[in-house]
Symmetry: C2
């Protein structure tokens, strides 16, 4: 499928055979080679076809990862880290075969330091498991990409989600990490200090490297106190531009919004049908505020004034959990509503991010392009970040529909780059976005390739992803 850049990589058959044999001896039942298990570990929740690894090692410790990498390095065999398999861009595929390292068993929370607002944990811990563990301590970890992803995977793809506008992305919330490098050595990128000027920022280099430079085996993450109070708000707007203008004004005036989400008319319509709601069929903003009782009241009311100035209608704000959930139901149901609106079709996610001043234009042009090409692709966006997703629904067996979708996605990426944006705000590059990386980074992609070659000269770490080495 042309949508993803599935590089043709040579398989090192004899190396793979040797490595699998040695790993089998070492790991016994913790090495699996069944077709089902291999398929599961190449499975992504999106459109990119699976490319199976030759075996899966179920790691339980840092030492397991090191042993596996050492053996693979010796035989020049690819190693592909696997968390929960929620990658959207083919990140867990094995285009040259090799060994998938399943890290789900490395799910220990090693230490919560409540005074320092940080936690040290293994990469297989999921964000929901972490937040369940933290709740009684009055702490939480904010990054929420939707799926109950593993924190190692979230770090590897530089994930974010609905509340990045307030709390940042994984880039901002990984204090330090440990990674097994391609030669089997362990690197610890820092301690637990909040900031450091000690040398190159290896933490940030590994965050977002998608397993192509090293395999994350431990993370120290920032935590936050659960806010004393939360409020939620909703407002409809005559068009996307008015909704974006309200967002810009709210940000300029320093309202510390925890979440601000845009749904376009198509999304609202889909949710109305699916969830039996009767919201105005117009662009919608959904917000959440965190702070003190007085603070969240003031924030919601200030936003209400701005919304009204920008032509917003139906502004409402609430604080009780059940009321907040009711208000946010539209957003929570969006994924299923869009699926239900197009039975039998698959959803192709897009993920551009642009400066917020260009967002209305980018969304509006994209809506038009989708429509003009006879496609269905509702848009939901993290509007405070300028990041939005069009879920283009199609039947991959329909060659004509597929071609039109490909063209729309290509134009969308180019549109975002022309607006000083990026082809991926939070999903990562994987295989799906590789062809845009050079367009986005120019000579920067040569620097990335030079770093990849310096750290992983035999290209065994998740080969065929992110960087292009030719």
């Amino acid at each position: 499928m042309a949508l993803a850049d599935l590089e043709t990589l040579a398989r090192n058959e004899s190396g793979i055979a040797s490595a699998v044999a040695i790993l089998k001896q070492l790991f016994g039942e913790r090495l699996k080679t069944s077709q089902a298990m291999r398929e599961q570990h190449a499975h992504t929740i999106t459109y990119i076809p699976g490319q199976l690894p030759d075996a899966v090692v179920f790691a339980e410790s840092e030492e397991d990862v090191r042993e596996t990498v050492r053996i693979c390095a010796e035989h020049r065999v690819p190693v592909i880290p696997f968390g929960t398999g929620t990658s959207l861009e083919g990140g867990v595929n094995a285009p040259a075969g090799g060994i998938s390292i399943d890290l789900a068993g490395m799910n220990r929370i090693i230490a919560v330091h409540a005074e320092d607002l940080d936690v040290t944990l293994e990469p297989g811990v999921t964000r929901e498991a972490l937040n369940n563990h933290l709740r009684d301590m009055g702490l939480f970890f904010p990054i929420d990409p939707g799926a109950n992803a593993s924190l190692g995977g979230m770090a590897a793809t530089r994930a974010s989600g609905t509340n990045a506008v307030r709390y940042g992305t994984m880039r901002d919330n990984v204090v330090s990490l440990s990674a097994v490098m391609p030669d089997g050595r362990l690197v610890r990128t820092g301690g637990r200090a909040r900031k450091s000027s000690a040398g190159y920022d290896l933490t940030r280099l590994l965050v977002g490297s998608e397993g192509t430079l090293g395999i994350i085996t431990q993370l120290t993450l920032r935590l936050y106190g659960i806010p004393e109070a939360m409020s939620a708000a909703i407002a409809s707007f005559p068009d996307v531009e008015s909704a974006c203008n309200a967002t810009i004004l709210a940000m300029q005036s320093g309202i510390p919004m925890a979440r601000i989400e845009l749904m376009d008319t198509e999304s609202v319509t889909a949710v109305n049908a699916y969830s039996k709601l009767d919201m105005p069929q117009q662009p919608l903003l959904l917000l959440e505020f965190h702070g003190s009782q007085a603070g969240v009241k003031e924030q919601a009311e200030s936003f209400g004034e701005i919304a009204s100035e920008c032509g917003g209608t139906g502004f409402k704000w609430v604080t009780k959990p059940e009321d907040r959930n009711r208000l946010w139901k539209a957003r929570h149901d969006a994924y299923w509503a869009i699926k239900a609106a197009t039975p039998g079709k698959q959803s192709f996610p897009t993920d551009v991010c642009v400066p917020i001043s260009r967002l209305a234009e980018c969304v509006t042009e994209t809506e038009r392009d989708i429509k003009e090409n006879g496609l269905f692709g509702p848009i939901v966006g993290h509007v405070g970040d300028g990041n939005f997703h069009a879920s283009i629904c199609l039947d991959p067996a329909d060659a004509d529909e597929l071609r039109r979708a490909e063209d729309v996605m290509e134009r969308l990426a180019m549109r975002a780059l022309a607006m000083e944006g990026t082809c991926t705000g939070e999903h990562g590059v994987g295989q799906g976005k590789r062809r845009f990386l050079r367009l986005e980074h120019g000579t920067g992609s040569d620097v990335m390739a030079a770093i990849k070659r310096a750290i992983d000269p035999d290209n065994i770490m998740n080969p065929g992803k992110v960087v292009t080495l030719t």
Copy 2:
């Protein structure tokens, strides 16, 4: 002087002679070789002795930088970027000679995007110049390292300062940048999107690389709306531990402090003498809050309650600018007060940063160590970050005093590392902290060296700084 790791690097005499001759032809009067100019460009405001470049190029454009780097690359001659010369760790020294590129003339503010809360500018713009430019637009750039440094230099050293607790460091506030790489090629690390998952984070790799990988020629920075209201507060504490406990509680409860600064008893005493104040001779916390009128009142009062719970006394908060300045006078005068307390002596800055739960212990042990060694070294700290500076005052000609200070500084760095901290929170490594880099990063420093070799194989970019290549 043993305090800094002044590597002995061979000078490439013939290469330098050729490069200087060619550059002279190209730049004419904009290339200077006078002793005074060369000394000025090796001058740092701290203890490390100067190592002079052979010539200084006054760059006025990106193209000037590219030309200079290309010529130096061809002749394998070192290139050392120079901003305002406020480096504290020998960052602008030329241990193997070479060409200093003075970037102060590249001081254009290219574009303020008020809607996107960002600005694109040249690296020679200073933070005060930027904030003067922004004031009428209701915007500001928060990072404040004290000195009126250039923003390029601040990015290169990953600087921060008093309000990093709220706004982060340069790591968090550089959206993207352009840099001339060692082969003369220009890399632009991203657009203006707030976040991106498109490949390796070259922005964060170059931020903090201190000119050893490339020379920053353009920056896009995040901006913030000037808050509607500000309040300042002050409280004294019986000991450093109580002050740290109050800080921890305030952070856990989510009070969004813009600044929270600790002064130890020694600092308060020095300021009392210098500024004719009569503050209790006890550890002091100084705070600033940003928000709405109601918000900054609530924040200050909430902190007041916490301070009192932790044994704080003399709590006061104010909002008027003149009252705020009066309250903060102690902090603003600290540098001069410490200088005045020890006429004829030089101040040796330290810069460790530890998890905040270890801060009281680290400060207290350091105070004791300084005292037991007959030294004077008042401590001022960015307590919300766990970062503090002891200004060890001494006469460098007094060999015994110098040796005692060296030992104290060595123990301080080791103490911070043992507490999962860092040897430098915000000053950078330069020459001064190189010997601690391997202790702090272990195999990570090999990865840093591999990156340096891959990007700058001839080691022409600010050689002898940050990484050790042997």
